[in-house]
């Protein structure tokens, strides 16, 4: 398993806890859309998008959490990555913001779902 090949960008504390010791994780205290914007900045910088930013059926603004894999290495700006992330950021505005309304246990469930979505991406990333 070569874990040097990708970086995890997340605003999900559960993901950070689980991967902090074994993976390169950038933890950012930001919103769902804020996290996508951080991803976009890195794509502009030449990183490749590895997982879909709109993973999961829980909608942006409904869940506050998002974790995305990008390549560790940088190359020319990847147009496809850029299109996907831009469309994803656009999509955030279609949904009402409900993130302020949840109790602790619901937030934990959102964290868990985000983790399992990322986990399925990690499984594919580690298979290479």
């Amino acid at each position: 398993m070569n874990r040097g090949k990708y970086i995890v960008l997340t605003n999900n504390p559960l993901v950070f806890d689980k991967l902090e010791k074994t993976h390169e994780v950038i933890y950012l205290e930001t919103t769902y859309e804020g996290l996508l914007r951080e991803v976009r900045d890195r794509i502009h910088d030449g990183h490749l998008l590895l997982t879909h930013p709109l993973s999961g059926s829980v909608k942006p603004n409904e869940t506050p959490y998002k974790s995305v894999l990008i390549s560790a290495g940088k190359e020319e700006v990847d147009r496809r990555s850029l299109t996907i992330i831009e469309n994803a950021i656009d999509a955030c505005h279609k949904f009402q913001d409900k993130t302020g309304r949840y109790g602790e246990s619901v937030l934990e469930d959102f964290q868990l779902i985000d983790w399992t979505l990322l986990e399925s991406g990690l499984a594919s990333a580690d298979a290479w």
């Binding site: 998008l49 590895l50 997982t51 879909h52 709109l54 993973s55 999961g56 059926s57 829980v58 909608k59 409904e62 869940t63 894999l69 299109t83 996907i84 469309n87 994803a88 656009d90 999509a91 505005h93 279609k94 949904f95 009402q96 409900k98 309304r101 949840y102 109790g103 246990s105 619901v106 934990e108 469930d109 959102f110 868990l112 779902i113 399992t116 979505l117 990322l118 986990e119 399925s120 991406g121 499984a123 594919s124 990333a125 290479w128």
Partner: protein
């Protein structure tokens, strides 16, 4: 493959001391079905209820909807690799209990949605307001992990549906339909002048509450493959997802996949229905590339003229949908895609998160952000506790008169992307 489907019409469901089907009435022994559900020690308790079309009843949060079936002739059994042993299904004779469903409900995660209203405006949108529903609400043992609970409820639903289906084994069907596909060579010889058509079904495959199983295999781990379209009628594909309930396929939809059935209607008349191709919707972009490459390759190898592609979900799958469409069209195979839309509450936003000019033939299941007011109903099966937090619901969800202001998103099957409903948008 040739499958004979015997339809047994269920006119009513009643609790009784003994489980049986007589004169179209399903009698259910509560004790017996409870025992079936509780076979799994992870389920602490289960309660059964019956909801009929037109009743003032709301079921929530719905996990899955299942049509009971029984395999009476031929290889394998219903739900291969899940309930029955692994064996290729899709031939012989199968009975289905029409007009009814087993509905599983239970709060696996705090934000879970999934509403079936048996009356009122919500009933117009969810297809499961028209079925007699045997509802089971499962409570897990304490301190269970969410994924264990999900699995326990999923399997309990299949066990109960199989138990109910078995009651029909010795009955005579009210109606019989025969579905038959040819081998590649047979089809070429039999229908030399008809266009060769397949159905490409994209399966939700992203993680907990976002999964689908094919013969028991997690669809994340498959590469695109070919099925005989009759296999799904025996439960080859089952649902493990329920988040954002409007455009997820409950097992009922897999068993009765409308694209499969409507292509069979035209088979041998206007087209040659060659096969079903299944593919997935993984979150990893390289997986998407592999799966869409393979899907297009299969279309080419099968010398297809056209395909219908159906989607499951929003956002991430939009990318798979467009990749599939673009690559299949590039092989010279004509496509029609089925999707739904998230155009915002005002209908003004961009509906999909991806787009391409190759997608020039689109069928839509409607805008899932459309707001609908659901009146207070007399009875709730399950729990409304979390309804204020469900997807698509706003802060004002529970209004003063007890009605709910929600988006179509929360209604089970409302904007289904296999074309299960009549809802559309322009």
């Amino acid at each position: 493959m040739r499958l004979e489907m015997g339809h047994i019409y269920i006119k009513d469901i009643q609790f009784a001391s003994e489980s049986k089907i007589e004169d179209g009435i399903l009698y259910v022994s509560e004790e017996a079905v409870k025992a079936v559900a509780l076979e799994d020690e992870k389920i602490k308790s289960v309660s059964f209820d019956i909801a009929k079309p037109g009743e003032s009843v709301r079921i929530t949060p719905v996990k899955d909807v299942i049509e009971p079936r029984v395999k009476v002739e031929g290889r394998g059994g219903i739900f291969p690799g899940v309930i029955s042993k692994v064996d290729t299904v899709g031939e012989g004779k199968t009975y289905a209990l029409k007009g009814m469903a087993v509905v599983t409900a239970g709060k696996i995660v705090g934000f879970q949605e999934g509403i079936i209203d048996m009356t009122g405006p919500g009933a117009d949108y969810t297809p499961f307001s028209k079925t007699l529903n045997l509802v089971m609400v499962c409570e897990p043992i304490d301190n269970i992990k969410q994924h264990e609970y999900e699995k326990a409820v999923r399997f309990a639903g299949f066990r109960v549906a199989t138990y109910i289906g078995e009651l029909a084994r010795d009955l005579t069907p009210d109606e019989t339909k025969v579905y038959e596909t040819c081998t590649i060579k047979e089809g070429m010889e039999k229908y030399p002048d008809l266009p060769r058509v397949a159905y490409v079904q994209m399966l939700q495959s992203q993680g907990l509450l976002h999964d689908t199983y094919v013969y028991g295999v997690d669809a994340k781990k498959i590469v695109p493959t070919i099925l005989s379209p009759t296999e799904i009628m025996d439960g080859a594909i089952v649902s493990g997802n329920c988040v954002s309930a409007c455009d997820k396929n409950p097992t009922y939809v897999h068993l009765n996949n409308p694209v499969v059935h409507d292509l069979f209607e035209q088979h041998g008349k206007t087209l040659n229905f060659v096969c079903q191709i299944i593919t997935n919707e993984n979150v990893y972009l390289a997986d998407k590339q592999r799966s869409s490459d393979w899907t297009a390759k299969l279309c080419k190898m099968l010398d297809l003229d056209g395909v219908i592609v159906s989607q499951e979900g929003f956002g991430n799958p939009d990318t798979d949908l467009i990749m599939n469409c673009k690559k299949i069209e590039a092989e010279g195979v004509k496509t029609v895609i089925i999707t739904d839309e998230y155009a915002g509450r005002d209908g003004k936003s961009q509906s999909l998160a991806d787009a391409d000019q190759a997608a020039d033939a689109v069928v839509t299941g409607g805008n899932a952000n459309q707001v609908v007011i659901l009146p207070k109903l007399d009875k709730v099966i399950g729990t409304l506790d979390y309804v204020t937090k469900i997807a698509g619901a706003s802060e004002e969800t529970l209004r003063e008169d007890g009605s709910l202001e929600v988006e179509l998103q929360v209604l089970t099957g409302a904007t289904n992307e296999t074309g299960f409903n009549k809802l559309s948008a322009r």
